[in-house]
């Protein structure tokens, strides 16, 4: 597979490490009343879609960027690659 890195252009998938669902960016509020339940869901529950999937890839043998790659799990077609940091910022994560 080829991943089109937003900063470095097309790179071989072998340069990356795969983590999984990009929902891991959405770390819940530890102050929430039911924190244990929502953290449980955050850590253990994943969708397994047949189709578009937003997932985290780490450019370990490259610039060490975490990327959010939108990949079709049926065809491996990659429709979008974003810096995970940009995604996190756009989802309201900050400090």
């Amino acid at each position: 597979m080829i991943i089109n890195h937003p900063l470095l252009g097309p790179r071989d998938a072998a340069e990356f490490t795969y983590l999984g669902d990009a929902c891991l960016i959405e770390r819940p509020d530890p102050e929430a009343e039911n924190a244990i339940e929502v953290f449980h869901d955050y850590v253990y529950l994943r969708d397994n879609p047949a189709g578009e999937h937003r997932e985290l890839w780490f450019h370990e043998h490259g610039d060490r960027s975490w990327l959010v790659v939108t990949r079709n799990t049926l065809t491996h077609e990659i429709s979008k690659v974003e810096l995970a940091r940009d995604v996190a910022l756009s989802r309201g994560r900050g400090i």
Binding site: M1, L19, F39, L56, F58, W66, I78, V87, A88, I95
Partner: protein
């Protein structure tokens, strides 16, 4: 007489004669021959025994689709089983041998299997060898394995080398037959970067095997000139002997180039190269494969595919028989008779299943329209055929043609399914092709020459336009279209005889019908149950006739029946090629610490820890057992001073205004208030509440920290920290970089550690206990101005420092340390002594932090700060992780102090059975403590802290041992830590 079946003409080079052996007998052939064509030229017809019934088999095809002629090539370590004689290029001195017989090829004792064939039908493994169950492993399987199977491995290491390579191109042309060459010429002329790959050693495809003309030239001559023209283009790279075996994601194609398979042993360079080709577009011109017709007795040596017979005659000038009969359901079969007749080879008969007018008249040949071959005779080779109605015809070679199958294999690697076309009675590529692929010529069902040439040219022109290249005004090469009408005729009803479908797996029409009767209706089930379409040829000649019979059985059409799924590789790829240079010592990289050479000089024993080689112990003269070395290193360190190479620890440089905040969130314990010049032990959790890693973080200067991780987790921790930084807290002002390789680092431990270091640390720096107490850190200089970092941290439990210098000074530093330590009798100590000392001290490592244990389990529950959030804090409070009866870290000593302990043993109370229900925990680390004089262990046991002094059993069923142990504190030595503060 040599080469008695050699005839005139052909594309072989008669000026070069190669002698070779087959089953020990010497023969001669020429350059340009395959092993198969040389065997045909020498009239060798029997080349192997079949897989199951050990029936005599001969050469069936002239290409990589060969199911029968599997041979062992070469000898010694280079012996290679199951190679196809039809694809093996002949060279001087080639040694080849037939396989799968017992006794001799002509008199195979296992041919007795053929008599038992009624018991060896479809699914016989599942039916015959079921009872009694215990017999399977001991009796049935060994017998079956001995009787079946094909060639023999050499059992020796492969002496050849293999390599990997990466290529990029605009257009990859797969196959260099008429359509492929037309495509390559058009692509080459546009200036695009072109790669042309063909599995044959001579490009040209069927043009080399036919008597057709292109642009007014003989086909093979036109192909030669096209290849020469392409070779002269700078933008075109030609890869003969290269099979594109798989289509991968995003335009990546796998190809195997056989570079020296056609040369004698001992050539320079890699034998085979596995290429990863990244192509913007691919033109698939893989051609078509002829298929047989099934009829009783169709497996005798001498029964061959009709176009392959033509290949042997036209390309290799080798006649597979003296009086040849043709059995066909289509026009193409007639061309075999026409070509052979023109070469003066006798044609006995043409039997056409179609009840139509004969295409032509062949002098001397019986022409039977609407005919059927119903039987054959000849034990080791065909002698005669019998037609429906009883007529017998003497013939020594029967050329069968059941039509052509477009080679759709690569079009299906992304789950595309082929489609049925009635007019050519064959599957063609479906609409869902791998992205960027265009199929042309016979592979796309364009089975006639003129049309294939034009198709290759035109499809490439549009592909080039799509890429923005100008294709120019050149006209496609011209050729005539031959007669190519075909009828859908698949098999002659077998009656009592056996009609073979899959020659490689000995599957007959009857087997298929039986499988259907027994309920195997899906093609995938049929394949697995009958084994049709498996093994080296993957049913290239067998699949479609089998599908036709499946369709017949189920009353569906072939289109409805569908095909099995095509998967890479197209033809077998040696595992050695996949491994490439990653074998033996080069399997993966080896990391050496900066002072590795020094450790080697000391005669250190090394151990692999991940990619690192670490000194395990340093034996001295007279020491015969590793324990002697380790005990000495421990005692000497604890009594005076020892030095240990700890460069392998992960080191992460952390800087930024929010660095402290960042550390405070990724460590369970507090880091917000760590003063400059101080280091702290840190415990890191995973988000699920389990311990991830431990280490230290040193506050070097304002907004600047250095974190250490365990050797094993260095990579994973760095990845995790980057995840936290980029994905969770993207606006924190913090930056990370791994400096593991930039610093050499040594632990200097023992009561004399300070005295030793004082000799090296430059005078500006005070390292007295008052100025540089336990857990102090600082940037200093040593040996007259060399930059260094000093950390007063202790894993051994002794007064200890870790001193780091830039990696290039590592070797000099260890030598300086050892020289300065001479007066204290300083010892270098290795990983084992380090391990003994940390167990004595009750410090945890990967054996305890093994991915299932919590901070509370290892006795550090109170370190998880109540005052702040950190990764893993919330879930570390889950009921299951704070349950009262979770096993917790304790120390263990054998009741009988002379006994040893075993890591991995499980704890049981006295008097209970050694079963999982009674399991109370496990031993995680053990060693002999030279200080205490007996074995000690760390382990986890339920409610351990309340059970100090209790005796339990440490059961080790794996080693068949059971030891009585006493539960003690995990801190065996200096529990108050007086030594390390001294």
């Amino acid at each position: 007489m040599s080469q008695q079946s050699r005839i005139s003409g052909g594309l072989i080079d008669r000026s070069q004669t190669h002698s070779f052996t087959f089953d020990g007998r010497r023969y001669e052939g020429h350059a340009g021959d395959t092993l198969a064509s040389a065997l045909v030229a020498n009239n060798v017809r029997l080349v192997g025994r079949s897989f199951k019934y050990h029936r005599p088999r001969g050469i069936f095809t002239a290409g990589s689709e060969e199911p029968n002629a599997l041979v062992e090539l070469r000898s010694g370590a280079r012996r290679e089983p199951n190679t196809r004689a039809t694809a093996a290029e002949l060279f001087e001195g080639l040694e080849a041998a037939s396989q799968n017989w017992c006794g001799s090829l002509r008199h195979d004792l296992l041919a007795v299997n053929d008599l038992f064939s009624p018991f060896l039908s479809a699914g016989f493994y599942y039916k015959t060898f079921m009872w009694p169950k215990a017999f399977w492993e001991r009796l049935y399987e060994p017998i079956i394995r001995a009787a079946a199977g094909l060639g023999r491995l050499s059992g020796l290491p492969d002496p050849d080398s293999y390599d990997h390579g990466y290529l990029h191109c605009d257009i990859l042309v797969i196959g260099a037959g008429p359509a492929g060459l037309a495509a390559a010429m058009q692509a080459g002329r546009s200036g695009a970067r072109v790669i042309v790959a063909d599995e044959d050693f001579r490009m040209g495809g069927r043009l080399n095997a036919e008597t057709r003309e292109v642009d007014g030239m003989a086909g093979a001559a036109w192909a030669d000139s096209a290849v020469a023209e392409l070779a002269a283009m700078d933008n075109v790279r030609l890869f003969p002997r290269t099979t594109v075996f798989g289509v991968y994601d995003h335009g990546i194609y796998g190809a195997l180039e056989r570079r020296t398979d056609h040369l004698r042993d001992g050539e320079d360079g890699p034998r085979q190269v596995l290429w990863q080709i990244q192509a913007k577009r691919a033109i698939l011109a893989a051609g078509a494969i002829e298929r047989p017709i099934a009829f009783p007795g169709n497996d005798r040596p001498g029964v061959m595919l009709a176009a392959s017979v033509r290949t042997y005659v036209n390309r290799y000038a080798a006649a597979p028989g003296k009086r040849i009969a043709v059995f066909t359901n289509n026009d193409d079969g007639w061309r075999t008779a026409i070509d052979l007749s023109a070469k003066g080879i006798g044609i006995a008969a043409i039997v056409d299943t179609r009840d139509t007018e004969p295409l032509t008249d062949i002098p001397g040949a019986a022409i039977v329209m609407g005919g059927r071959v119903t039987a054959t005779r000849g034990r080791h080779g065909l002698r005669s055929i019998t037609l429906a109605g009883g007529r017998t015809i003497e013939t020594d070679c029967l050329a069968i043609s059941g039509g052509w199958n477009p080679n759709v294999h690569l079009t299906c690697h992304h789950r595309g399914r082929p489609e049925w076309r009635d007019d050519i009675a064959a599957f063609v590529p479906g609409p869902e092709l791998p992205a960027g692929m265009t199929v042309t010529g016979a592979a796309n069902g364009t089975l006639t020459l003129g049309a294939a040439l034009a198709d290759g040219h035109n499809r490439t022109s549009s592909t080039l336009m799509g890429l923005g290249f100008r294709s120019g005004g050149a006209q496609p090469p011209r050729g005539d279209d031959e007669a190519a009408s075909v009828s859908a005729f698949w098999h002659v009803s077998p009656g009592k005889g056996r009609a073979w479908l899959d020659l490689q797996n000995d599957v007959t029409v009857k087997d298929l019908k039986l499988a259907h009767q027994e309920g195997f209706r899906s093609v995938e089930h049929m394949k697995r149950y009958t084994t049709l379409g498996m093994a080296t040829d993957q049913g290239k000649t067998a699949n479609v006739p089998a599908l036709a019979i499946m369709a017949e059985c189920t009353g569906r059409t072939i289109a409805e029946t569908g095909t099995t799924i095509f998967r890479p590789p197209y033809t077998p790829v040696p595992i050695a090629a996949f491994a490439g240079r990653s074998r033996g010592a080069h399997m993966r990289p080896v990391r050496l610490t900066p002072s590795h050479a020094w450790a080697e000089e000391q005669g250190a024993a090394f151990v692999e820890t991940g990619l690192w080689l670490r000194a395990q112990w340093y034996p001295r003269d007279g020491e015969t057992h590793w324990r002697q070395s380790v005990d000495r290193e421990v005692v000497q360190t604890r009594n005076s001073v020892g030095i240990c190479d700890v460069a392998t620890l992960g080191k992460i440089d952390i800087q930024g205004r929010d660095a402290a905040q960042f550390l405070n969130r990724v460590y369970a314990n507090g880091f917000a208030k760590l003063a400059v010049g101080r280091a702290r032990y840190g415990l890191m959790l995973r988000e699920d509440g389990i311990v991830m890693d431990d280490g230290t973080a040193a506050h070097l200067s304002e907004n600047h920290y250095l974190m250490t991780t365990t050797t094993a987790n260095a990579l994973a921790v760095f990845r995790h920290l980057e995840f936290c930084r980029q994905c969770l807290w993207p606006n924190l002002d913090v930056h990370l970089i791994s400096v593991t390789d930039q610093w050499a680092q040594y632990a200097v431990a023992g009561p004399n550690a300070r005295k030793l270091l004082s000799k090296l640390v430059d005078q500006d720096f005070d390292i007295s206990n008052e100025a540089f107490p336990f857990m102090a850190c600082g940037e200093i200089t040593v040996c007259g101005g060399t930059r260094a970092r000093l950390f007063r941290i202790s894993f051994s439990g002794e007064l200890a420092y870790e001193i780091a210098v830039p990696a290039r000074y590592g070797d000099a530093m260890i030598r300086a340390l050892m020289a300065a330590g001479e007066e204290f009798d300083a010892v270098p100590y290795g990983l084992e002594a380090l391990n003994v000392m940390r167990i004595e001290k009750g410090h945890v490592t990967g054996a305890e932090l093994e991915g299932r244990t919590t901070a509370r389990d290892v006795g550090m529950g109170r370190m998880v700060s109540a005052d702040k959030d950190c990764i893993g804090k919330t879930l570390s409070q889950r009921p299951v992780l704070v349950a009262e009866d979770r096993p917790v870290l304790m120390g263990f000593i054998p009741v009988d102090r002379s006994q040893t302990l075993d890591a991995g043993a499980h704890f049981l109370s006295s008097g209970v059975a050694a079963v999982t229900e009674n399991d109370e925990g496990w031993m995680s680390s053990v060693c002999h403590s030279p200080i205490l004089g007996h074995a000690i262990g760390l382990g986890f046991i339920k409610r351990g802290r309340e059970r100090v002094g209790e005796t339990v059993r440490a059961a080790d069923p794996l080693r068949g041992k059971e030891t009585l142990v006493e539960i003690v504190s995990p801190h065996f030595l200096d529990p108050e830590g007086e030594r390390l503060r001294g």
